[in-house]
């Protein structure tokens, strides 16, 4: 059964244990530029704290709720779409969606065209611009751990239960239960967005105030180009046949051109 992670935004206290666990498990390098940044800084920068060596980040948003000012911490990483745009956009199959949920990337197949980055509905792909031989970098949802019936590194260390690993279907039901219980915003972000994602978010503050792409399409992105690609071979063969016919017809009884 496909796995997923439920993020209960109000439960997050911003301790960033998840980021540390991610770095340790994935052996990501320490990045000088991240040294003095706070969660609030990251929420304001274009990259929202995600860099080639930062696969997940905590972003702090200072919001108003019922007349009181509250802080909300949002964990950012790859959403692991059910039907991912990056997988369908890659012309050399460097991306793959595993049946257990993770969307993984293999640099040895990558040409480096960056069409995946343009196509990603959540703009989370990062490129190693500083390297002579660069690759795309993103959260792999600890694919090797998940394949061995372990949970993801980040969820395994969360002290408050803000991120929970489990079966996506069960988490979705749990999310809806919590929305009712705690009077959250009536939306599970990730249930239908971009055709559904393995990561699901629930919140008591509006998603659009926390850099969520709330107007994203609910149709799976690959469906936008599927028909076109299926029709292409037939159009090609048909058009070539028409051209051949025209060529023969128009050249009948004429001297060939030089």
């Amino acid at each position: 059964m496909a796995k997923g992670v439920l993020v209960d935004i109000p439960k997050c206290i911003g301790c960033e244990s998840c980021s540390v666990a991610c770095k340790l498990w994935n052996e990501l390098e320490w990045d000088e530029q991240e040294k003095c940044k706070t969660a609030a800084d990251r929420a304001k920068e274009p990259n929202n704290g995600l860099w080639p060596e930062e696969w997940t980040s905590i972003n702090r948003f200072d919001l108003e709720k019922d007349g009181e000012s509250v802080a909300r911490y949002v964990k950012a990483q790859c959403m692991h779409c059910e039907d991912p745009a990056c997988v369908s956009s890659c012309f050399s199959k460097a991306f793959q969606k595993l049946p257990e949920g993770p969307v993984i990337y293999d640099q040895s197949l990558c040409v480096g065209c960056r069409y995946c980055m343009m196509a990603c509905p959540f703009d989370i792909l990062r490129y190693e611009w500083k390297k002579a031989i660069p690759g795309v970098r993103k959260c792999q949802m600890c694919a090797t751990r998940v394949a061995n019936n372990q949970e993801t590194a980040c969820t395994s260390v969360c002290p408050t239960g803000a991120i929970t690993f489990g079966d996506r279907e069960e988490l979705l039901a749990e999310a809806k239960k919590r929305i009712k219980e705690h009077g959250y915003v009536d939306r599970v972000f990730g249930e239908k967005e971009a055709g559904g994602t393995s990561w699901l978010y629930i919140s008591d503050t509006p998603f659009e105030q926390m850099r969520f792409r709330t107007d994203v399409t609910t149709k799976p992105l690959p469906s936008y180009t599927e028909g076109y690609m299926k029709a292409t071979p037939f159009v090609g063969v048909g058009w070539a046949a028409i051209l051949a016919g025209l060529y023969v017809y128009n050249n009948k009884g004429k001297e060939p051109l030089d």
Binding site: P46, S89, F91, C110, P121, W129, K130, T225, K254
Partner: protein, 407 residues
């Protein structure tokens, strides 16, 4: 500069010589200078990476090189397949005099595109992966296969011209293969010109609705077809000056009219598309995208149509204006789809992209290389007319299989 190569065709037989000439003019020195600067930047790019030579970033993974070298390069090279269709398949023999030069421009355009892509992609040494690891759900997969195969086809098509002068033995085989190559060579660009537009259809909600439409492939295909005449006018004017060769006005005018016909179809589809999706409000909002959109259509399509179907197109001046406006319109369109179309979305959280000087140098350098190659080939092969192959003088050389002398 003149170079005479002597090739031994049969052991002990007479040697045939071929003359190569290339006269350096001030303009050609300028091209050479830009090309040299570009090659220097390209070397830096391969050693230090894209970050050191471009302003690309995670918000703008595609920039000038993709839009100029690839999107635009392919579109402006559209004159090749269009001419092949009109001349060889539909047999409008009137246009034969421009066929070879249009197809040569197209070939050089594609070589620029392929070189540009190799520089642009991160892992250029992996360029062959899509041949074996089929990501066939990707529109880019189709673009990749079509562009690479079409470039090979175009090289073979040029070999048919080239073998009039060198390796003459292969000429008759290439000539026999021409019909097949021509038909494949029209089918492939029809497919990938439209697919370049379809690439952007995956970026749902990111591209301004003025450009993001299900008609994208049709618009890209039609505009690559009608820009062909504009390119041929400009190219024949420039080459006419440089090489002292002019194409007759009725030939160009005929082409311009065919192109204007395609423009009218394009315009009608644009209007239909706007009606269907209700984007009239966006088009007349008079913000930056709307102004770009309207000027693209007015200067790049409507005015050229008026020129084409009025007496203006019977003068060289009118034709040149048609060329300049049409080409500028398509240039604007391709830049608009990426920069104007996606700017608002990609910059929403403070992202920004202005091409670096080094990016401009590489783009200009690639064009300069293409111009130099065109001039060399047009001067040394039968491209611009005066049909029939050039006969090289036969001279005898006593020994040595190969000799060359430079003057």
């Amino acid at each position: 500069m003149e170079l005479i190569t002597t090739v031994l065709s049969k052991a002990g037989a007479k040697k045939s010589t071929v003359k190569w000439k290339f006269k350096m003019t001030p303009m050609r020195w300028v091209f050479t200078g830009i090309a040299a600067a570009a090659i220097a930047v390209i070397l830096v790019r391969f050693v230090l990476g894209l970050g050191a030579t471009t302003n690309l970033n995670d918000q703008w993974p595609w920039g000038l090189w993709i839009s100029f070298d690839v999107l635009l390069g392919v579109a402006l090279a559209g004159g090749g397949y269009g001419t092949a269709l009109i001349v060889y398949v539909l047999r409008r023999d009137k246009f034969y005099p421009i066929a070879r030069s249009a197809m040569l421009t197209s070939l050089l355009g594609y070589i620029v595109v392929v070189l540009g892509l190799l520089i642009e992609v991160g892992q250029w040494f992996n360029f062959w992966r899509p041949y074996v690891s089929w990501g066939h759900a990707s529109v880019l997969f189709e673009v990749f296969w079509c562009i690479s195969c079409y470039t090979v086809i175009q090289i073979l098509e040029f070999c048919e011209v080239g073998t009039e002068k060198v390796f003459k033995g292969a000429h008759k085989y290439l000539k026999k293969a021409m019909p097949v190559m021509l038909i494949i060579g029209i089918t492939l660009p029809t497919l990938h010109q439209s697919s370049l537009g379809q690439l952007f259809y995956l970026m749902v909600g990111k591209v301004n609705p003025l450009w993001w439409t299900a008609f994208l492939p049709v618009f890209f295909l039609l505009s690559s077809f009608f820009v062909g005449a504009g390119m041929i006018v400009i190219e024949s004017t420039l080459a006419g000056k440089a090489l002292n060769h002019k194409v007759e006005i009725p030939v160009l005018r005929g082409l311009v009219k065919i192109s204007a016909g395609a423009m009218i179809l394009y315009l009608m589809l644009k209007i239909t598309d706007m009606v269907v999706r209700g984007t009239f409000a966006n088009a007349f909002a008079f913000d930056l995208p709307s102004i770009m959109f309207l000027s693209e259509l007015t200067f790049g399509v409507i005015i050229p149509v008026i020129i084409a179907f009025s007496s203006l197109s019977s003068t060289r001046k009118g034709l040149i204006w048609f060329g300049i406006l049409t080409v500028s319109g398509v240039v604007m369109n391709r830049f608009d789809v990426l920069f104007t179309g996606m700017g608002k979305y990609l910059n929403q959280y403070g992202g920004s992209y202005v091409p670096a000087v080094s990016e401009f140098i590489v783009s200009l350098g690639l064009v300069s290389i293409a111009c130099l190659a065109y001039l060399f080939l047009a001067e040394n092969f039968n491209i611009l007319g005066s049909h029939g192959s050039e006969h090289a003088d036969d001279i005898e050389i006593k020994d040595g299989k190969y000799a060359s002398t430079a003057k």
